[in-house]
Point group: C2
Chain length 149, copies 2
Amino acid sequence: MTISWTMVMDFTPAFAIVTGEWNHSFAALRKNRECVIAIPTVDMLDKVVGIGTCSGADTDKFARFGLTPLRGRVVEPPLIKECLANIECKVTDIVRKHNIVVLEAVAACIDAARKEKRTLHAVGDGTFIVDGRRIDRRKMMASKLPWGV
Amino acid sequence: MTISWTMVMDFTPAFAIVTGEWNHSFAALRKNRECVIAIPTVDMLDKVVGIGTCSGADTDKFARFGLTPLRGRVVEPPLIKECLANIECKVTDIVRKHNIVVLEAVAACIDAARKEKRTLHAVGDGTFIVDGRRIDRRKMMASKLPWGV
């Protein structure tokens, strides 16, 4: 599934996503307690939107969108070869009241050879912002980063 | 406070943020059950980082960073005049197990006359990505947007 309702929760590899009964993948998450967060880039936008607007209940999304599943190191669900990065996750909690799924990363890899590295930010209205330039404030933030500068 | 651990939770104006006991503002959130999400732009980056690396316990952040408080329409905490947008929020729940604060927006305003509209995305390592170009996929996403295209 495509998901944009996500956040980092800590300097440990903890994440939260929001999904629920309306989503075919929610049942799989509850049952398998595992998933892979695959990070796409701007050149994949039409696949991202396509994946988000059909359902795994009646569609083989890997086949339809020309994606290649790769075996993970720890979890059962596949990585997506075409993505910039893949984060293997365990479901550590589900806050049913808010449909929040709490994840802990157990492995991660990045395709360092990939040329296109710009990711997407869903605005929420059907538009997407592409990564622009990067600004470095590591020195200013050193006191807040557990690993320092 | 500066916060980057945030997410949208629904097509209703619901948000989640993660903060906790380590943060001076957490006690205020718990007590007052209100806050304002003020959205800064790239030209405010050094203020954003500065605000995130000092504490309201011993600093008047509005004075130190040259910010102007404005009265909100619904909530007690002030808006920040210099920001691109301000979202007045009520705290609807606190999930103590995960330090997740659930917010509901009750009013919002945007400074439409502001020239600089590019926002920032905290990478988490002390670097920040600036908004690049915007891509429109509203037609493709119409089936997923409650208000249509």
